[in-house]
């Protein structure tokens, strides 16, 4: 996350306006306090209560670790997010390389195609995948028609469908992130390698890919966090049997009306996200340290 350079014009500000900055920030702070800070606090507090009384207890947390379903949900969320992160990065890389290097007029077209689905919204795309993957959807319809299978393949309402759907949803962001990263690699490095006799494959293997590692890591992190916090796609494509933390939270709030437990699940999801962000941050600082001493390998 880049920091904005908070530098203002060097002219002297009249003292009359000294406090106006705070006044002007007040509405934003109010909104953030009432609809973010306080609710988060209340939610965290609520996770320490049992359903009956307000007395602090670790009951809900114990439940989380012992009821078997919650941990399974956590693991499922992590596995799904990891698969999505890998698919997004693998699928997005060729497109990102093209967008970063190409100067043909097709670039604008590919750029639009890669990013436009984001405007279509999650629902439209998830609905599309439902139609394609379900038992009476395209793929199965075509396979049965062509006599390749006797009964429909279970392509929807499972991990596979959710990963496909989420990969599709997250792909534009992965492509954007990878493109920016590859653009940061000096193109004359590739030319230099070519002049030294490297085939295009060798150029990719020895020069571009090693230098893309930071961008790849970044893309993996972005994709993971987006997939882990997704609700609609796992709900629709996962069905009743495939529960991830987001859908479990939904259930607890609106069906079981077990709010303290829902709070615990929400905190579990939040902690998972924060853990991943910390991982990313420590990778960045590790890299920057190596860079400044000039003796590290990957720069």
């Amino acid at each position: 996350m880049s920091t904005i350079a908070l530098a203002a014009p060097a002219t002297t500000r009249r003292r009359v306006f000294d406090n106006s900055g705070y006044i002007v920030l007040a509405p934003s702070c109010l909104v953030l306090t009432c609809f973010f800070a306080l609710p988060m606090g209340v939610m965290i507090g609520m996770s320490f209560t049992s359903g009956q009384s307000l007395a602090p207890t670790l009951f809900q947390y114990q439940r989380f670790f012992t009821d078997g379903l919650s941990l399974a949900g956590l693991v499922r969320t992590a596995v799904m997010s990891l698969l999505v992160a890998i698919s997004v990065t693998v699928l997005g890389y060729p497109v990102a390389y093209f967008l970063a290097r190409s100067r043909s007029r097709w670039r604008a077209v590919v750029f639009a195609l890669a990013l436009a689905p984001e405007l279509a919204g999650v629902v439209l795309r998830t609905y599309g995948w439902l139609i394609i993957l379900e038992d009476r959807g395209f793929i199965n319809d075509a396979l049965i028609h062509l006599g390749l299978v006797a009964s429909p393949l279970p392509l929807s309402k499972n991990l596979f469908a959710v990963v496909v759907g989420l990969t599709h949803v997250v792909l534009p962001f992965g492509i954007l992130s990878l493109t920016t990263s590859i653009q940061g690699i000096d193109p004359s490095l590739e030319r230099a390698a070519q002049m030294l006799g490297a085939s295009r494959l060798s150029v990719m293997r020895h020069i571009v890919l090693p230098l893309s590692v930071p961008g790849i890591v970044s893309s993996l992190l972005i994709a993971f966090t987006m997939a882990a916090s997704a609700y609609a796609t796992p709900a629709l494509l996962g069905g009743a049997r495939f529960k991830v933390l987001a859908t479990m939270i939904y259930e607890q709030v609106l069906f079981y009306i077990d709010w303290p437990f829902a709070a615990v699940l929400a905190i579990a999801l939040l902690l998972m996200m924060l853990a991943i962000s910390c991982l990313g941050l420590s990778y960045e600082t590790c890299r920057n340290q190596r860079r400044s001493t000039g003796t590290g390998e990957l720069v």
Binding site: I4, A114, L119, G128, A228, L236, Y250, A266, L270
Partner: protein, 267 residues
Amino acid sequence: MTKLLPCLFWLAIGLVLAFIVLPIAVVLAASLSPASTVTFWPSEWTFKWYGALVTDKWISPFWLSVRVALAVAAISGVLGILAAYALVYQKIPGASAIMGAILSPLSVPQIVKGVAIVLFLSIVGLQNLLGTPALIAAHVVLALPFVTRMAATALANFDSSLDRAAQSLGATQRQRLQHIVLPMIKPGVLSGMTFAFIISFNNIPLSVFLVRPGDTTLPIAVINHLEYSLDPVMAAVNVTSMVFILMVIFLFERIGGFSAQLHGGSK
């Protein structure tokens, strides 16, 4: 071998692009096909599903989404400009910390934010805020970091020597704000507001807990319907929604001309 690699490369790109386009094309086809189950290529075209849209079942959530999104765009736009003004232009003490606080909601998943809000409102007895008011407030919390950051970037990129030139020509601070600063950051702010509109309109995870029966947004109405039926009206709803978003972008582009800013900023 040297010929093989470029071929593989173009093939990979083609497949990925096909993957991207596939579900959208499918939904488009489904919305125009007369069959009530979806077959690949419609044998004939019909607009009957689009006709079926014009019922209160879809129109009412649509309008709610539009109203909420407009309110969110406007409110977060104003708050974002004010915040950026205080933090970047005036550079008040503690600006980095405050900017960090404004950006902090970004690290919390939307569904978690939604749960927190609904829990909070129930505890303090403000359940009647659920529905439109809560949606607007929650979406503003969601959009504010983005809009503030875009406005702050626009302000940071604003050439302060223009401001000083205006000062040397005798313009007061209010005049400078009105005639120099605001017009120059307009593209950045407007793209932020468009972004806020889109993420509010299309939003699901944050909104699932904040809607009420009869007071629900379009995307949520759609997924509720999808829970038990896949009928092609959904296709028409989705396509219309997408076309609507495209029109909104087009409109904002007309007003703000922010594609110029996009081209100016890209490589």
